[in-house]
């Protein structure tokens, strides 16, 4: 494995330590739990706490979105594995400013279980906890079973909107409802061109044949909608837009925010090649790109590929998206 690694079992602890060292102006480690990253600004008295968490290996997600007017505390799991219920509970405690805490996380079995348990643990401390489960990945289940869909890069918009709403002084119910609306307005799709390897496992977690691509792939290599020939970037971009926008079914003239993220090993210039076509295709379908993000925002170790997220906007969402934030991930 051509990697920078010490003992593979230590990679998560070292990542968190290095991360907090590098960004100590914005984040710190929870003294109660080395697997919880907390914004230096948190907790803010009277503000709804915003928490997320998930497996590691997606950096800058999840920890990178901790900061001012963003997520207050993040529970950190092993590579591609849910954080413990205790870490979620400690993150909830660290974020708690007395106005309740909202946990904004992705729809994965382990996360669902651990958040559920953390909620009970926090309830014992008298902290009111509400949750939003992101399910923006269109290929992970049909539209009729949206609750089965996985959460992917749309979570970044959910955090940004939820963080901004909480910073604006909204109540727990309001923050929850707004973050829920944010993720409801998001649709995402991933395209995988190459696998990644967990350092503790030592071999790729799946295979993609040269010349093929897996459309609809998940953030841990979950199987896509189909495997097909890898075509020209413009065709791939068109297909990604169509998958997302067909599911979205937005009225003509809707403004959208677009996020194109590399999965880890795809060069940044290719993301811009995709984006060049994505914006044109969205325009051709009648929607208007209000704002775009292109880069490595939500990765899967060194997977080769990219994800597209499109979020429909209205005036409130635009204002919240424009809220000034400070976090290492943006």
């Amino acid at each position: 494995m051509q990697r920078f690694v010490n003992d593979p079992d230590d990679i998560v602890d070292e990542t968190v330590r290095g991360f907090v060292r590098a960004h100590r102006d914005l984040v710190r480690i929870d003294p109660a739990n080395p697997r919880v990253v907390v914004a230096v600004s948190a907790p803010v008295k009277g503000k709804v706490g915003v928490v997320t968490g998930g497996g590691s290996g997606h950096e800058p997600a999840f920890i990178g979105y901790t900061g001012r007017n963003m997520v207050d505390a993040v529970a950190v799991g092993e590579l591609f594995s849910s954080p413990t219920a205790k870490s979620f509970a400690d993150a909830i405690r660290a974020a708690n400013g007395g106005a309740g805490v909202v946990v904004l996380y992705g729809n994965y079995a382990g996360d669902n279980m651990n958040v559920k348990m953390a909620q009970k643990l926090a309830a014992k401390d008298g902290i009111e906890v509400q949750t939003v489960v992101a399910n923006d990945d269109v290929c992970s289940a049909p539209a009729t079973e949206r609750d089965k869909r996985r959460g992917v890069a749309g979570e970044i918009f959910m955090w940004k909107i939820g963080g901004a709403k909480a910073a604006a002084g909204a109540s727990l119910a309001e923050v929850r409802a707004t973050a829920q609306r944010a993720i409801d307005l998001c649709r995402s799709v991933g395209v995988g061109l190459g696998p990644c390897t967990l350092p503790t496992v030592g071999h790729p977690n799946f295979q993609i044949e040269p010349g093929k691509m897996e459309v609809g792939i998940g953030h841990h290599g979950e199987p896509g909608a189909f495997v097909t020939d890898l075509r020209r970037a413009d065709d791939v971009a068109d297909q990604m837009v169509d998958l997302v926008m067909d599911d979205h079914a937005l009225p003509a003239g809707t403004e959208v925010a677009v996020l194109v993220s590399g999965l880890g090993a795809t060069p940044v210039n290719e993301l811009y090649v995709l984006y060049d076509r994505i914006e044109q295709r969205i325009a051709a379908r009648g929607q208007i790109v209000h704002r775009a993000y292109v880069g490595n925002y939500f990765t899967s170790l060194e997977m080769v590929g990219a994800t597209l997220t499109v979020m429909a906007l209205d005036d409130e969402m635009k204002a919240l998206l424009a809220t000034d934030t400070a976090c290492p991930g943006f």
Binding site: S81, T84, S87, H220
Partner: protein
């Protein structure tokens, strides 16, 4: 009546842990076939740490189970943390106030554990998970008692059913967990969680059988 003393049975959990640690590589290998190959590592980490922390202390069975559950919930995460964590939490709670555990109390404990796993994981028998071992094993225990069997007979019935349940996963297609990604390709291989569950139930029953007093 045959019973088990709660206070004298904490070491059963150390024995369960020893079995899991001894099967670390085996469990990871099985998980590697249709999962991500870490089940043995995850399990050995949680059970091994508990065994270390129990060393030199005398715990009741319910205390030892709570200790194990706490490690799983606080330090393991993933799916195993909550699943086995809730199983042992609910088993511990069910016997916490029971100094002398008879066959009925033991059965109630098993049912509590099974229900805990189902409550947190929302999986069903047939989904190719640890439940395919746990659910029939607990039923076999209950059935043996209902049919007039004694504590020991019920435990042995549970062990036998656990093996059958574990092996039933070979022909199943995974519908939850990581292996579900493979669909039909997940058939033909035993489930890792069912395998660890079978090991746990066996060690638990063996420990109980060895400590029974009349």
């Amino acid at each position: 009546m045959t019973t088990l003393t709660n206070a004298a049975s904490g070491a059963i959990i150390a024995e369960v842990a020893a079995v899991i640690v001894a099967n670390k590589v085996h469990l990871s290998q099985i998980d590697g076939l249709i999962g991500d190959g870490d089940h043995g590592v995850n399990m050995a980490k949680g059970f091994g740490r508990t065994a270390e922390r129990m060393q030199g202390r005398t715990l009741t069975l319910s205390e030892a189970m709570t200790e194990l559950a706490d490690v799983l919930i606080a330090e393991i995460g993933g799916s195993m943390g909550p699943l086995y964590g809730m199983m042992f939490t609910d088993m511990a709670d069910s016997i916490a106030a029971t100094p002398v555990i008879d066959a009925d109390a033991f059965g109630a404990m098993l049912r509590a554990g099974r229900d805990g796993v189902q409550a947190v994981g929302s999986a069903e028998v047939g989904d190719k998970t640890m439940l395919d071992c746990l659910v029939p094993a607990v039923s076999a225990y209950d059935d043996a008692l209902a049919q007039g069997g004694d504590f020991a007979a019920a435990l042995e019935a549970m062990q036998a059913a656990a093996v059958v349940g574990r092996d039933s996963t070979v022909n199943l297609v995974a519908r939850v967990g990581r292996s579900a990604r493979l669909g039909e390709r997940s058939r033909g291989v035993v489930d890792a969680g069912a395998t660890s569950c079978c090991l746990i139930l066996h060690a638990l029953a063996d420990g109980a059988l060895r400590r029974m007093t009349v």
